[in-house]
C-alpha cells in the first residue's frame, strides 16, 4: 500500500471544543505513518487583542487558549510521534513555545523540539505610514487611528522548513489557515513549489480541515431535512493524503457527525469567493475541477485540484481601535408582546435622540426576524402578536461613557417602559476595526525566520 500522510484538525476557531482532538490523537496513535495534528485558533480580532496583551507583558500575546488545547494531548502526541502544527502563537510565537516547554516540564515529559515561524508581524519592520501607504483591498480608512496590529498572511514554506529542521511542534502567528496542512505535505512528499496542482491540492485539503467539525457534520444539521447523528460528540476531521495530492476526508471511529458529499461541499465553499481563484501565498487554487467520490462510510475522496500561479503580493490584515459598542436587550412575552416590544424600541430611539449622542444605532426585535430585519422593516413571513419577543438596541460610539448611556436607556425600561418587560441584559465592548492591504513579497520574505528551540 502506498504511503499516506494523516492530518487531523483539533480546533477550527479560538474557543472551539477543547477535548475535540482527543479522539483524533487516539486514532492516529494506532497508525504507523507520518501524522499531524493542526489547531486553527486565530481570528482577525483575536490577533489585535493578543497584540495588546503582548504590549502590556512581553511574555504574553500567544493564544489565551494555548493551555486548554495543548495540555490534554501534548504527552500522547510526543509519545506517538504526532507532530503539532498551530497558529497558537498569535502575536507572540516565541512566548507560545516557552509556554509549551513549561507544560512539558510540568507533565515531566521529554522536552519537545519546537519550530517557531517569525515574520508575519509588519509592525516589527514597517512604519505605520509605510503600512498605511500600501494598497488597500477592503476596509476602513485608518489614517486617523493608531494601528494596533498589522500581520501578513504567510504561506506553507516556513512550516515545511521548520519540519525539515526536525521540529516536533511548529508554532506560527498569522499564516493562511490552509498552510497548517500544506506545510507538512510539502515536507513529507518533497512537493516542489512550482508543482502548482499539488500546492492547490494541499491548500484545498487544509481549507477543508481548517474549520474543524464544519466538514464532518457540524454546522450542517437541519432536523428532519439534514439529520446528523450524535452532534454532541461530533468527530473532528482527519485527512488521509496521497503523494499525488488526492485525499480522503474522514473522522475518528466511534465519534458523532457525518462525512458525505454534502458536508464536504458546504465547507469547500465556506468563505470562498471565486472558486476558480482561491488565493493563498503558495498558489491560486481552482476548485471548479474538483470531483468528490464516496469511499466508504464517512469517507469522501477529493481529487482533481488544479493550481495556477500564486498572487504577486501578500495580503495583510491591519487592526485599529474603533470606539465602544453598547448592546442591550429586554424581553416581552404573552398577549400583544410584539406591539409592546416595538413600543419599547420606539421609546429607546426617542430617548437616544434626546440625549443627542451621535453615532450609528440599530434597534431590532429578536424573535421578529431580528437577524434579517430592523424595527422599521416588516418580515416577509407573518409574526404572531402574542409570543416571545426581545427588543435589542446596539450602537457604536467613540467613548465608553456614551455606550453606557445608551444601554442605561434600555435598562430603564424596567420601570419606565411598556408593560411587563423583563430579563434586561446589557454589555459594553471595545471595538476593533480591520482592513486588508497588499504587501510586496520583497518586503516580507527577508523577514521570515524559522527558529528551532
Amino acid at each position: 500500500m502506498s504511503k499516506k500522510v494523516y492530518i487531523g484538525c483539533g480546533a477550527g476557531f479560538a474557543g472551539d471544543r477543547f477535548d475535540a482532538s482527543i479522539p483524533i490523537v487516539k486514532q492516529l496513535s494506532k497508525i504507523n505513518a507520518p501524522k499531524y495534528l493542526m489547531f486553527e485558533v486565530l481570528a482577525e480580532r483575536t490577533l489585535a487583542l493578543a497584540q495588546q496583551l503582548r504590549t502590556k507583558n512581553s511574555e504574553e500575546g500567544y493564544s489565551p487558549f494555548l493551555d486548554s488545547y495543548i495540555t490534554p494531548i501534548l504527552s500522547d502526541c510526543l509519545e506517538n510521534n504526532i507532530k503539532i502544527i498551530s497558529n497558537i502563537g498569535a502575536a507572540n510565537p516565541m512566548g507560545a513555545a516557552k509556554r509549551i516547554f513549561e507544560i512539558a516540564e510540568k507533565q515531566k515529559i521529554k522536552k519537545p523540539k519546537i519550530g517557531v515561524v517569525i515574520g508575519d508581524d509588519l509592525l516589527a519592520y514597517m512604519s505605520d505610514s509605510e503600512i498605511l501607504e500600501s494598497p488597500t483591498m477592503e476596509g476602513l480608512d485608518f489614517s486617523n487611528n493608531k494601528i494596533t496590529a498589522a500581520n501578513v498572511y504567510l504561506g506553507a514554506k516556513p512550516i515545511a522548513d521548520a519540519l525539515e529542521k526536525g521540529a516536533d511542534i511548529v508554532v506560527v502567528g498569522r499564516s493562511v489557515d490552509s498552510a497548517l496542512a500544506l506545510g507538512p505535505l510539502i515536507y513529507e512528499y518533497k512537493w516542489k513549489e512550482n508543482d502548482l496542482d499539488l500546492m492547490a491540492a494541499g491548500t484545498i485539503c487544509g481549507h477543508l480541515l481548517e474549520c474543524g467539525a464544519q466538514v464532518t457534520g457540524a454546522y450542517f444539521a437541519d432536523p428532519g431535512y439534514k439529520d446528523v447523528p450524535d452532534l454532541a460528540y461530533v468527530g473532528f476531521p482527519i485527512a488521509e493524503v496521497h503523494e499525488d495530492g488526492t485525499f480522503v476526508i474522514t473522522k475518528p471511529d466511534g465519534t458523532g457527525g457525518l462525512v458525505n458529499e454534502a458536508t464536504v461541499t458546504e465547507q469547500l465553499l465556506y468563505e470562498t469567493h471565486d472558486p476558480s481563484s482561491y488565493l493563498v501565498p503558495d498558489v491560486t487554487a481552482d476548485m471548479t475541477s474538483l470531483v468528490l467520490e464516496n469511499d466508504g462510510i464517512n469517507r469522501i475522496l477529493v481529487k482533481g485540484a488544479k493550481g495556477n500561479t500564486p498572487p504577486k503580493q501578500l495580503k495583510a490584515t491591519i487592526c485599529c481601535d474603533n470606539g465602544f459598542m453598547g448592546e442591550a436587550e429586554m424581553s416581552y412575552a404573552g398577549p400583544n408582546a410584539l406591539a409592546r416590544a416595538r413600543l419599547a424600541g420606539e421609546i429607546i430611539d426617542q430617548r437616544i435622540q434626546k440625549l443627542g449622542i451621535q453615532g450609528p444605532m440599530r434597534i431590532e426585535i429578536i424573535g421578529g426576524g431580528s437577524v434579517h430585519y430592523s424595527l422599521d422593516e416588516t418580515a416577509s413571513y407573518e409574526l404572531p402578536n402574542n409570543g416571545d419577543y426581545r427588543v435589542r438596541a446596539s450602537a457604536i460610539y467613540p467613548h465608553k461613557k456614551q455606550a453606557q448611556q445608551m444601554i442605561d436607556e434600555v435598562t430603564s425600561l424596567y420601570c419606565s417602559g411598556p408593560s411587563a418587560g423583563g430579563g434586561a441584559r446589557s454589555y459594553v465592548t471595545p471595538q476593533s476595526s480591520t482592513a486588508s492591504i497588499l504587501v510586496d513579497r520583497s518586503i516580507v520574505n527577508p523577514q521570515i525566520e524559522v527558529k528551532i528551540l
Partner: protein, 125 residues
C-alpha cells in the same frame, strides 16, 4: 409533472461565510434535477433582489457543476462586516437560511430528497 412554488430549502442546502463586508452563500442541490433547476433559474438579479434590502450593491455568481453547487458573492451586505456591524448576527451566518426561505422556485416532487417533510406538499387530497 405537477410543480409547486416552494422555498429552495426543499431541494438545496446552503452555508454562508464572511470576509469583511462581503458575504458568500453557497447553494447546493441535493439531486441532479434540482441542480438543473437552480442553475437555470437562480440568477445574480434574483439574489440581488433578496439581499438589496440588507445593503447588497452587487452579486457575483459562480457555477460548480461537478458539485451541483452555485456560489454567490454578495457585496456590502453585512452592515460593515464583523468588526463594525450593529446587527445581532455580525457575520451574517444566518443569511444562508434567509436565502433558503426567501428564494421560491417551481419545484417538482422528484427534485426533493427522500424522507423530506416537503414531500407532504405533493400528497393529493
Amino acid at each position: 409533472m405537477k410543480t409547486i412554488d416552494l422555498p429552495v430549502h426543499a431541494i438545496a442546502h446552503a452555508r454562508a461565510g464572511d470576509k469583511g463586508d462581503v458575504s458568500n452563500i453557497s447553494l447546493i442541490a441535493y439531486l441532479d434535477n434540482g441542480w438543473d433547476l437552480i442553475n437555470n433559474l437562480v440568477t445574480e438579479d434574483k439574489i440581488q433582489s433578496i439581499f438589496k434590502r440588507l445593503g447588497s450593491t452587487k452579486v457575483d455568481r459562480y457555477e460548480l457543476p461537478n458539485l451541483k453547487a452555485l456560489n454567490f458573492v454578495i457585496h456590502n451586505a453585512l452592515g460593515g462586516g464583523v468588526n463594525s456591524s450593529l446587527r445581532l448576527d455580525r457575520h451574517g451566518k444566518t443569511l444562508s437560511s434567509h436565502l433558503l426561505l426567501e428564494l421560491v422556485l417551481p419545484i417538482t416532487k422528484n427534485m426533493i430528497p427522500i424522507k423530506s417533510p416537503y414531500l407532504e406538499k405533493f400528497i393529493e387530497d
